[in-house]
């Protein structure tokens, strides 16, 4: 039988591609292209308004100092959004990200500060390295709790992480009271992620930024270059097909929440460095911001589609909007408005590109 069946008029009609379909196909393949375009437009508009139109303080927008500040500002949302991306790729969601981050941050700071006598968790004494390691382990285990509940009892991730959001927030307050630990109280190693240096004139980089970028590279590789990564996509795409293909779906899901917990633990350390203190009241809206970064980065909430690079771009969009609008002298409410519109637009675009057909 010949493979090249003669094309009928109907088939030819069906195979005609409109420009819109071409765009749809490109976005289907590279879902991070639309956020990249949005980011580019934002940067161009803010730079133009600043340099040419001299709006507000926007003339500072394109300066190395501002640019490095914006990049440094991405570290908290950016790192947590890696964890959120991996979870959302499996068609899950993690509402406890902020709570786990704060919990593991307070574990680190308390272990590093208090001596055994007054300590609630008297294991680490004042060894900051051990404190950081234990903090990351606690984050990982907390992620494991989410994974266990989701996998073992077949509960929806939304509900489980809504519950653990409260649980870890409460645990933080019960164990560590509402006490903020200031930068001068803990050893330098705990705040090392906030250390900055100038690679070239006027441009400054923090250790936390470098660690975050390294995490992006490592996890981009893991997601696209290893079998585990493929399975994460497959499980989010079609869990039944994955199971029938011999993938242990439950194990993949559990490992995803565990890995997310590990990343959250590192994010906790980065956050201490960035803010220069460990406070239980930090970042109440961080969960939604990570989800926002992931969604406007082109990752589908329905799972199975998206790229880590998109999440990074999504994070940049949030920060650039933040800086640009406040430099322009506009009220915070405009930023919130703009983000809201972007989220809805991103989900609409996702719905559209998922309808792609040959």
């Amino acid at each position: 039988m010949s493979q090249t069946a003669p094309t009928t008029a109907a088939e030819e009609f069906a195979s005609r591609v409109t420009p819109m379909q071409r765009v749809q196909h490109v976005l289907h393949r590279y879902p991070w292209v639309s956020p990249l375009v949005v980011l580019a437009i934002l940067i161009i508009v803010f730079a133009f308004l600043g340099l040419v139109m001299d709006v507000g303080a926007l003339d500072n927008f394109a300066k190395p100092g501002t640019i490095s500040l914006m990049l440094q500002q991405t570290v908290i949302i950016g790192t947590l959004a890696i964890a959120q991306t991996i979870v959302i790729l499996t068609a899950g969601i993690d509402l406890s990200i902020g709570a786990i981050m704060v919990f593991s941050q307070m574990v680190m700071a308390n272990l590093a500060v208090y001596t055994t006598a007054s300590n609630v968790l008297p294991i680490a004494g004042q060894n900051p390295i051990l404190a950081v390691i234990l903090g990351i382990i606690v984050g990982t285990l907390a992620g494991g709790v989410n994974g266990f509940l989701i996998v073992r009892f077949n509960l929806p991730p939304f509900i489980v992480t809504l519950g653990t959001l409260s649980i870890f927030t409460a645990l933080t307050l019960i164990l560590f009271k509402a006490r903020t630990i200031q930068g001068k109280e803990y050893p330098e190693f705990l705040g090392i992620m906030g250390k900055d240096f100038q690679p070239f004139g006027g441009f400054s980089v923090t250790v936390g930024l470098i660690v975050m970028i390294a995490l992006y590279i490592i996890f981009a590789y893991i997601l696209r270059g290893t079998a585990w990564g493929t399975h994460v996509y497959a499980v989010g795409d079609d869990p039944v097909a994955s199971e029938l293909s011999g993938i242990n779906v439950k194990r993949v899901l559990f490992s995803v929440y565990l890995v997310a917990g590990f990343i959250i633990g590192i994010a906790a350390w980065i956050t201490i460095g960035r803010l220069g203190s460990a406070s239980p009241n930090v970042a109440p809206e961080i969960n939604l911001e990570t989800i926002t970064a992931v969604v406007i980065g082109g990752t589908s909430l329905f799972g199975g589609r998206g790229r880590l690079i998109g999440t990074f771009i999504g994070t940049l969009i949030i920060i650039v909007l933040d800086f640009g609008l406040s430099l322009a002298g506009l009220d915070q409410a405009y930023r919130v408005l703009a983000i809201g519109i972007l989220v809805i637009a991103a989900v609409a675009v996702d719905q559209w590109i998922r309808k792609v057909r040959a």
Binding site: A227, D237, D238, A241, G246, G304, A358
Partner: protein, 268 residues
């Protein structure tokens, strides 16, 4: 008609039972597939066809009964177990991940890592190798009319998707391929292509179980026809000895055939 034979079934099920709560899927069901044949499995909706092949492919564990591959007793707990014995399945609900590409789907659950430190330590996938082999096996089976092996499966037509699923089952040194209604969602041309693919697989020495509701297709490709009714085997006949009407009559219970008039032995 039945003759005694020394040929061993490649897949055999004895007195398989499987129930879902109070619903009975399989009831003391026997089954034999012989090497190199196409065995069609037909039966009414709910007769237990899918349940039967799910047991044989490890997707379900029977409540009781015995299964044998080449005479060796097996008990499959997962589809992995069945695969490791050379039994591959294309499920009724096409088990492909739509957003993954063709090559990723062919290798889903059995990815190949790079040689050396990259593969061992960094667990790096050998995408190049997987793409090349996928292209090769698809074109060997004459199904590669797709533009690119890195095309997501959801951008393929129904027939192409089915071809990918069938090819996946026919690759990787499998000996038995199980197809659950592979042409149900396809047009005439696409169905013909898949049937051709089934014959090709048989001609390459594979043994095939084909579940289908389409009598003309069954009579076209099958060597023997296993008729399933109320969770058990009602009869096994050949397309030569029986008409489509006979088969439908057996399916519905209007006709019963004594064992000596059945074709329980291999014909090939």
């Amino acid at each position: 008609m039945t003759t005694t034979t020394d040929i061993q079934p490649i897949v055999q099920g004895k007195a398989l039972n499987k129930s879902f709560g109070r619903v009975i899927g399989l009831n003391e069901c026997d089954f034999e597939l012989y090497p190199g044949e196409v065995l069609a499995v037909v039966g009414d909706n709910g007769a237990g066809k899918s349940t039967l092949i799910k047991c044989l492919s490890g997707a379900l564990v029977p409540d009781s009964g015995e299964m044998f591959i080449n005479g060796e007793q097996v008990s499959f707990k997962t589809t992995h177990d069945a695969r490791s014995k050379g039994v591959e399945t294309v499920y009724q609900t096409l088990a492909v991940a739509p957003a993954l590409d063709i090559s990723e789907n062919l290798y889903l659950g059995r990815e190949v890592r790079k040689k050396g430190i990259l593969g061992k330590l960094f667990r790096s996938l050998d995408k190049k190798h997987m793409r090349e082999t996928s292209t090769k096996s698809l074109s060997e089976l004459g199904v590669l009319t797709v533009q690119s092996i890195t095309q997501p499966v959801e951008t393929l037509s129904g027939g192409q998707r089915q071809a990918v699923a069938v090819s996946r089952a026919g690759t990787f040194g499998s000996k038995v391929v199980i197809l659950d209604e592979p042409t149900a969602a396809l047009g005439v041309n696409e169905s013909a292509r898949v049937l051709k693919l089934i014959k090709d697989l048989r001609d390459r020495g594979m043994s095939i179980i084909l579940i289908s509701h389409n009598m003309p297709q069954v009579f076209d490709v099958a060597d023997r026809i296993h008729i399933q009714r109320l969770g058990r085997r009602a009869a096994v006949v050949t397309p030569e000895a029986r008409t489509m009407n006979d088969v439908v009559a057996i399916m519905t219970g209007a006709l019963t055939i004594p064992v000596e008039d059945q074709q329980l032995a291999p014909v090939r």
